[in-house]
C-alpha cells in the first residue's frame, strides 16, 4: 500500500440552536490517501487480489486511530471512499465494501451493524459528507447524522481516499420521535 498522508479530524459541538450540548458531542474521522492499487492497468475485471491485499491494511490502520481520536465510547459510525479522476468508483467500493475492511472497525468498536458509506469520484479537495448510523441498530433514528469533510489536495487522479468516521452520540439536541412511534 502506497500511503501519502493520513488526516484526522475531531469535532466537538458545545451548543446547537443556542442550547448547551452536554456532554460535548464528539465526532472523529480518519482518512488515508493511498495510490490506487489498479492505477494504469486499464479495466481490471477481477479486483479481488487488490482488495485482499489493501482492504485489511486500511482497516488495521484506520480503525484504532478513529477510536483514539474519538476519545469516548463510539455509538455511531460510517465510512467513505473518494476515488481520484483516473479511477473507477468500483475501485473505492472494492476497498470499503468488504468485511476485510469493515470488520476491523466493528471489532474495535464492539459494533454489529453495516457501516453506511459515501462513494464518490472527484478532484482533489472535493467536499463529501460521511453518513453515520447507530453501531448496533441502524434503525435508531437519533443517531442518523453526517459529517462534512474536505481533505485539501486529495485525492489526486491516481489516488483513493478511504475514511472511517465515528461519533460518541446521536445528533446534538436530537429530539425526533423514535421510528417505532410511527409503525
Amino acid at each position: 500500500m502506497k500511503l501519502r498522508k493520513i488526516t484526522t479530524i475531531v469535532d466537538e459541538v458545545l451548543t446547537e440552536g443556542g442550547a448547551t450540548v452536554d456532554p460535548v458531542a464528539r465526532t472523529a474521522v480518519v482518512a488515508a490517501v493511498i495510490e490506487n492499487p489498479w492505477k494504469g492497468q486499464g479495466f481490471v475485471q477481477q479486483l479481488n487480489t487488490g482488495i485482499d491485499d489493501i482492504a485489511p491494511q486500511l482497516g488495521k490502520l484506520l480503525a484504532p486511530r478513529v477510536m483514539e481520536a474519538l476519545g469516548s465510547p463510539l455509538e455511531a459510525y460510517g465510512k467513505a471512499a473518494i476515488v481520484g479522476l483516473n479511477g473507477e468508483i468500483e475501485h473505492g467500493s472494492g476497498l470499503i465494501h468488504t468485511l476485510k475492511f469493515g470488520n476491523f472497525f466493528r471489532d474495535a468498536a464492539s459494533a454489529s451493524t453495516l457501516l453506511p458509506a459515501v462513494e464518490k469520484r472527484g478532484p482533489a479537495g472535493i467536499v463529501f459528507d460521511i453518513p453515520l448510523k447507530h453501531f448496533t441498530d441502524a434503525t435508531i433514528r437519533s443517531h442518523h447524522q453526517s459529517l462534512e469533510v474536505r481533505i485539501p489536495d486529495a485525492p489526486h487522479a491516481d489516488e483513493i481516499l478511504v475514511a472511517l468516521a465515528g461519533a460518541s452520540q446521536g445528533r446534538p439536541k436530537q429530539r425526533l420521535a423514535d421510528l417505532s412511534t410511527e409503525q
Partner: protein
C-alpha cells in the same frame, strides 16, 4: 500586628469555552508519509485547531472598544486550542512551527478577528504554551460558512528559517455564521517535507543589478 494586603486589579478572564459561548471546536491533523513520490524521513505532522464563537461586537459601530472582551475571552482560546495542538503533536517540545488565523462572519469586521488574534491575550499565551519566542505569522479573512482558509506557519524561535516556511489549508464546514468568528491556532512538528531551497545564510546577493548589461 496586621498585614496590609495589596489588591491587584486583574481583569476577569473566561475559564471555559462555555463562558464565551463557543459553539464548536474542530481539530485537524495531517500526517504526511510521502511527498513528491518519496517517503518523508518521519511522518511529518501539521495541525490546526479552531473554535467557533459568537461575535460579541456586532451592532456596536466602529468606535467601540474591542480590548476588554478580547482580554476576557482570548486567553481561554489560546489555552484550549494550543492544548489540543500539543496533545496531537505529542508535546510542546515536539512542536517547531506555529501560526494563527481568524475568520469573521459576514456581519462583522476583520478588525473583530484581529482583536482576538493580534493582541497579547491570545498570542503571548499561545507562544508561551508552545515554548516559542517568534512573532506568530497569521491569516485573516471574512467569509461565508463552509469555505477554506490557508494559514501560514514559520519557526517558533527562528522565524526567518526558510525550511519552516509552510502553510496549511483548513476547511470550515458550517462556520463562521454571519454573527460568528472563527479563531484558529496551527502548529507543525517539523519543516516542509524534503526542503531544498536554501536559506538566507547561503543565498547569493540578489539585487536589481542582475538586469544590468554584462552581469
Amino acid at each position: 500586628m496586621t498585614i496590609k494586603q495589596t489588591v491587584i486589579d486583574m481583569p476577569a478572564i473566561a475559564r471555559t469555552l462555555s463562558d464565551i459561548h463557543v459553539r464548536a471546536v474542530r481539530t485537524v491533523v495531517e500526517e504526511v508519509h510521502a511527498e513528491g513520490g518519496s517517503a518523508t524521513s518521519t511522518p511529518w505532522k501539521i495541525a490546526a485547531s479552531y473554535a467557533v464563537l459568537p461575535n460579541p461586537w456586532l451592532g456596536q459601530g466602529t468606535a467601540s472598544n474591542l480590548t476588554d472582551y478580547a482580554a476576557y475571552a482570548a486567553p481561554i482560546l489560546a489555552k484550549e486550542l494550543g492544548g489540543r495542538l500539543i496533545d496531537h503533536l505529542d508535546g510542546a517540545q515536539n512542536i517547531e512551527a506555529f501560526g494563527k488565523a481568524a475568520v469573521v462572519g459576514l456581519e462583522g469586521e476583520i478588525e473583530h478577528g484581529g482583536a482576538f488574534i493580534h493582541t497579547p491575550y491570545f498570542g503571548n499565551l499561545f507562544r508561551e504554551l508552545l515554548e516559542g519566542s517568534s512573532i506568530i505569522c497569521f491569516s485573516e479573512s471574512r467569509a461565508e460558512p463552509s469555505q477554506s482558509l490557508r494559514v501560514p506557519l514559520w519557526h517558533k524561535t527562528a522565524a526567518a528559517t526558510r525550511d519552516y516556511y509552510q502553510s496549511m489549508e483548513v476547511h470550515l464546514p458550517d462556520a463562521p455564521h454571519a454573527d460568528e468568528i472563527v479563531v484558529m491556532a496551527v502548529a507543525a512538528d517539523g519543516p516542509r517535507p524534503h526542503p531544498r531551497i536554501g536559506d538566507r545564510n547561503t543565498d547569493p546577493a540578489v539585487t536589481l543589478a542582475i538586469f544590468e548589461e554584462g552581469s
